[in-house]
């Protein structure tokens, strides 16, 4: 199964329904398919080995992605916000690539094999373009750089069969009503950006792109375009909630579904959002780049049931990533590889056809197909999955394994704390000691001692940070992932 199949299906089944809108301009499914087929012909004629996309969301993104897929070559969306050195290193890893860029051409762009994104689309002749012959289902479809919060970013390999398995396993063709509109604000280089494009296209839901996220613009588009679904990362939802701080209601009656993922959602942000969007269904999606996006989700009814409950155990489900999607198996193991039971926390392993677990040249899958996610988590008696953070983030203090998330959750539960991180710093006596950094709201006056007391009361003294610093903000990636190694580096400065 090759990705172009969904374009062929949309071409014949969805035809003149609008597929993508940006800056008020739309392409219908027929046009999108024909532009993409023309792009495939261009890439095949030039004989380029890959296609690099360097820019924000634009119609050129789906055209270049499906163009590369049709030509059977990898599509490589890069993070346009990277520093020059990191970007140069990633560009160097894809010699001879066709480059679609935004604005100024990168230094390594070759005339004839590169174009500004709008010029690229304008240069294609969609009239009479035909679907290219199907590539090998085992061909590489996407190379996506992981966010690199704990180590240098690496390119995850997703093949046609992985993406098709995700799509056919989770989405129904043309299942969206004609009035459904999805607002996409995640960038093209994020797996959620790619998954959003593919799922909505296949469901027949029109995609509206924001090229750069802003809470006011986002709310304006939701209201004006009568958006029915949207996906955000937690930092975006935090900004939306903050923007609406004096409002009783978000005033977005068209919004049926708001999904989120990509990083841990702070409980206060989610609770406030559930109040502000009372008629919207919330969906928490959990997945990794290496798993072709979503492998577990917590649906709208589950959110409302947990939100409306006074029972702490039922309410705790708001912090769950939900249950597995069809075709995925999960196993939680201890550090020695022994499978653990219900409620026990350990390392999360996943198996299924959509899971690649492969990086440029290196396959991480075990012989029987299990993929070590390096996430720590547990499963409750009803199959709900709880993710407690990256194994690499675990702090070992005096032989005790401590997950920073547990302490961070207590810190942000304080009225005036809006963001918090807990890291381990080298310590001669304990091996590692706990250090916290918190961000407080506006003019708030909170002392480190008050916060330490809060943690000591709720958890215990061995989990109480020795030091707590106050910063104006925490370093995060554009998609909201906390850059823990940057925090450690800054705290370790003399």
């Amino acid at each position: 199964m090759y990705l172009g199949l969904i374009l062929d299906m949309a071409h014949s089944g969805l035809g003149d329904r609008d597929a993508v809108t940006i800056d008020g301009r739309s392409l219908d499914h027929t046009q999108l398919a024909e532009y993409s087929w023309a792009a495939s012909a261009r890439f095949l004629e030039l004989g380029v080995p890959s296609v690099v996309y360097l820019g924000t969301n634009h119609v050129a993104f789906p055209v270049a992605l499906f163009g590369a897929a049709g030509a059977g070559i990898p599509f490589v969306p890069l993070n346009y916000r990277l520093g020059p050195d990191q970007l140069a290193a990633q560009l160097e890893a894809h010699p001879g690539a066709y480059m679609v860029y935004e604005g100024e051409p990168p230094a390594t762009a070759v005339p004839g094999r590169s174009a500004d994104r709008q010029a690229f689309v304008d240069s294609l002749d969609p009239v009479g373009a035909e679907a290219p012959p199907p590539p090998d289902p085992d061909a590489i479809c996407l190379l996506l750089y992981t966010s690199g919060t704990t180590a240098a970013p690496k390119a995850a390999v997703l093949r046609h069969r992985h993406l098709m398995s995700y799509l056919l396993g989770t989405v129904e063709f043309a299942s969206a009503d004609e009035d459904e509109v999805s607002l996409v604000s995640v960038p093209p280089y994020h797996v959620a950006g790619v998954a959003n494009l593919l799922s909505n296209l296949y469901a027949g839901r029109r995609i509206v792109y924001i090229d750069r996220f802003d809470p006011e613009v986002w709310l304006g588009i939701v209201r004006d375009q009568k958006v029915t679904q949207a996906m955000v990362v937690p930092t975006m939802l935090a900004q939306i909630v903050d923007h609406l701080r004096d409002a009783g209601d978000a005033d977005t009656p068209s919004l049926r579904t708001l999904s989120y993922g990509g990083a841990r959602m702070p409980a206060p942000v989610l609770t406030r959002a559930l109040e502000l969007f009372p008629t919207t269904g919330f969906v928490n999606a959990y997945g990794l780049t290496e798993t072709s996006s979503t492998i577990a989700l917590l649906g709208p009814e589950e959110h409302r049931a947990a939100f409306g409950s006074d029972d702490p155990a039922a309410r705790a489900r708001l912090g769950s990533v939900g249950r597995l999607v069809p075709g995925i198996e999960i196993e939680v193991r201890d550090d020695d590889g022994v499978p653990l039971g219900v409620g026990q926390t350990g390392l999360v392993f996943l198996r299924g056809d959509q899971i690649s677990g492969e990086y440029a040249g290196v396959a991480l899958l075990e012989e029987d197909g299990w993929f070590p996610t390096r996430d720590r988590g547990r499963i409750d008696e009803d199959g709900y999955v709880f993710i407690e953070g990256r194994a690499d983030d675990t702090i070992i203090r005096g032989g005790e394994n401590i997950a920073p998330a547990e302490i961070e959750d207590v810190l942000v539960s304080h009225d005036r704390v809006v963001d918090a991180v807990v890291v381990g710093l080298p310590d001669d006596q304990w091996g590692q000691r706990l250090a916290a950094v918190v961000v407080t709201s506006g003019d708030a006056d909170t002392s480190a001692e008050e916060l330490r007391e809060l943690v000591r009361t709720r958890l215990r003294s061995s989990k109480t940070p020795e030091t707590i610093e106050f910063w104006p903000e925490l370093p995060r990636t554009d998609t909201g992932k906390l850059l823990r190694r940057t925090v450690v580096a800054r705290l370790s400065e003399p």
């Binding site: 199964m1 056919l168 579904t257």
Partner: protein, 101 residues
């Protein structure tokens, strides 16, 4: 032809094409309009729909047997009802997951 997940097949009685999502164990024959389906890229002589095997296959619909041993997805619509070893396949009622994208 052995059915396996990911295999793309076409009808010889019309334009219908399907992709196998879940394959039955052991040998089984998938037919469209009463004639065995063939590989998407195979050359095969056209045939007529056999009496009693009429029916339209609809784009994007999933088709299953009663036992749930096979599931195919229609990627190109056409004539010629689908059957597995003579048992007609039915449209699977779709219950989409909440949209996570």
């Amino acid at each position: 032809m052995e059915l396996k997940a990911g295999l793309q097949l076409k009808s010889v009685v019309g334009t219908t094409e399907v992709v196998v999502i879940r394959a039955p164990e052991g040998g089984a024959t998938l037919t469209s309009g009463g004639a065995p389906m063939v590989g998407r890229d195979e050359d095969a002589p056209a045939a007529d729909v056999q009496p009693g095997a009429e029916g339209a296959v609809l784009l994007g619909k999933r088709y299953v047997d009663a036992a749930g041993s096979i599931e195919v997805l229609c990627t190109k619509p056409g004539d010629g009802g689908l059957a597995l070893d003579g048992e007609p396949l039915e449209v699977k009622s779709a219950k989409p997951l909440p949209s996570s994208d």
